[in-house]
């Protein structure tokens, strides 16, 4: 049980997917304009990552390891993640059309989101059991959501700042993200 808690703390705070491992930066920057879209995106990512963790672990142990074709890991995982994202897109289009329109291009982008694939591959490398993988998937998506919501709050403040012309927009957002990740380095060694 302690190991699960450590996994959660490490995934959310210590090696936060966005701020320490620098995975999933493009939706992190793209969607952080408004809090509502950021929350919507976080919800979608949590759903996809948790499911992806479960399914990829099953495929890995019962198909790839059984047949000894571990090298096919990336293709199989991308296949699964893509179909999961497509599933989320269909559901969102049906039940939350406004959120679907607001997310726009960033919803299909989760497919190529390195955080999702990264999490799947990492959990295999760390030789987690099934439960640990799912918890790790869920915790890392929580980490992503925490970083995203924090950054959206910051983004709304710096959108009202007036940096020199060259730094307007994404440039100043990247600098803020850098400072934020500097802050999260305080947690290193926590676990």
């Amino acid at each position: 049980m302690i190991k699960l808690i450590l996994i959660v703390i490490s995934a959310v705070l210590v090696n936060n997917f966005v701020l320490s491992r620098f995975l999933g930066i493009c939706p992190f920057l793209g969607v952080s304009k408004k809090t509502s879209t950021a929350l919507g995106m976080s919800g979608a990512v949590v759903f996809v990552m948790t499911l992806a963790a479960a399914v990829t672990w099953l495929v890995q142990t019962y198909v790839l390891d059984k047949l000894g074709i571990g090298y096919m890991q990336t293709i199989a995982f991308i296949l699964i993640i893509a179909s999961l994202v497509q599933l989320v897109e269909i559901i969102l289009k049906k039940f939350l059309p406004s959120l679907h329109a607001a997310l726009g291009i960033f919803l299909p982008l989760i497919t190529t989101n390195c955080a999702v694939l990264g999490m799947a591959v990492l959990s295999i490398q760390n030789k987690y059991t099934f439960v640990e993988t799912v918890v790790f998937g869920f915790a890392s998506s929580l980490g992503f959501a925490l970083a995203l919501v924090l950054f959206t709050g910051l983004r709304e403040k710096i959108d009202r700042s007036n940096p020199p012309k060259a730094f307007k927009g994404v440039a100043i957002a990247l600098i803020t993200a850098a400072l934020l990740s500097m802050a999260f380095m305080g947690f290193s060694g926590l676990v």
Partner: protein
């Protein structure tokens, strides 16, 4: 109506309380003087060197960046001076000068001017500078200390090189001697190793009282912050008195006083609403103790204030005063 003598016309109101940013910042500088005196007493010339270097380079960097960005000059509002002093207070006495200049550059140019100057920066500039130095020049920041005579287990004045928190970090066996009241007194007065501005809690508290009296800061953040650290430390102390230091030790050691009174209460980067300030203080307190207890760095104050600065915009959205005349519940 005399043609050339135009009257000034503006929107109401036409009178003002007389407060000014310059006035506020001047009060903060005055409040930091006691800590400077303590620093000079304990660390002598190094304290003067570092403070002068940091303040000068901060002001020069602000002047240059405002000039390059073709914006109006704002060095007269003393905010660069305060950033310089705060940064200097966070540096160990043995810190090389050129690194202090690099820290000032990061603090003023990257953490403040790039966002557009005072008021637009989401993070406290002095903290940004300190964290940058702390993470890039870890060895220089840990510094080779002058000796600090502490009274060890069998109460003989022994000499050690580490800072109080550093010792807490590395010690394995029982460290209850750290919490003896003679050590605590040293800690309180400042006769310890540590960064030049954070050692003397007495001087910092004096400055804090001055700020409260001048109404530059309100009690909410310092009290919430220090209170949370005290409660957290007491709980730890009660659970395992030998393995943990006493709450007083935690209060007067490291950068807590400096952080809680001067850095966390930086108006630009802390919430504006009273309840928001309380949540901010409690958040800082928790993070500081977590990092001190389980983190790999001895001092968590800078990191925790920095992270809570990131959370300030969200706190500002959540903690809002209830508008006059709104029925209960209607936002």
């Amino acid at each position: 109506m005399s043609e050339e003598q135009f009257y000034s016309v503006s929107s109401s109101p036409h009178v003002h309380s007389g407060a000014s940013i310059h006035g506020i910042m001047r009060d903060v500088v005055i409040a930091m003087i006691p800590a400077f005196i303590a620093a000079v007493i304990f660390f002598g010339l190094d304290a003067v060197r570092l403070t002068v270097v940091c303040v000068a380079s901060c002001v020069i960097f602000e002047y240059l960046s405002r000039r390059i960005m073709k914006r109006n000059q704002t060095i007269s509002d003393l905010s660069a001076v305060i950033t310089g002093m705060l940064l200097a207070y966070n540096l160990p006495p043995s810190f090389p000068t050129w690194m202090a200049i690099v820290g000032s550059f990061v603090a003023i140019v990257i953490a403040k001017q790039l966002f557009g100057g005072l008021g637009y920066n989401p993070f406290n500039p002095a903290l940004a500078g300190r964290l940058f130095l702390f993470l890039s020049f870890a060895f220089a920041m840990s510094g080779n200390w002058t000796d600090w005579n502490y009274i060890n287990a069998d109460n003989i004045a022994a000499i050690t090189g580490a800072t109080p928190l550093g010792m807490l970090q590395e010690s394995t066996g029982s460290i209850s001697f750290l919490s003896s009241n003679s050590n605590i007194l040293n800690l309180f007065l400042g006769r310890v190793n540590g960064c030049i501005g954070e050692v003397s809690s007495l001087a910092l508290i004096l400055g804090g009282i001055y700020l409260l009296w001048r109404k530059v800061i309100t009690w909410h953040i310092p009290v919430a912050y220090i209170g949370t650290v005290a409660v957290f430390a007491t709980i730890l102390y009660v659970i395992d008195p030998t393995g943990n230091a006493s709450p007083l030790f935690h209060l007067f050691s490291g950068g807590l006083m400096l952080g809680a009174i001067f850095m966390a209460t930086d108006m630009v980067t802390s919430p504006t609403d009273k309840s928001g300030m309380l949540v901010f203080g409690i958040g800082c307190g928790l993070l500081t103790m977590i990092i001190r207890k389980w983190g790999s760095y001895p001092e968590g104050v800078s990191f925790s204030i920095f992270i809570m600065n990131a959370a300030t915009p969200l706190l500002n959205r959540v903690c809002k005063p209830k508008m006059f005349g709104l029925k209960k519940g209607k936002a």
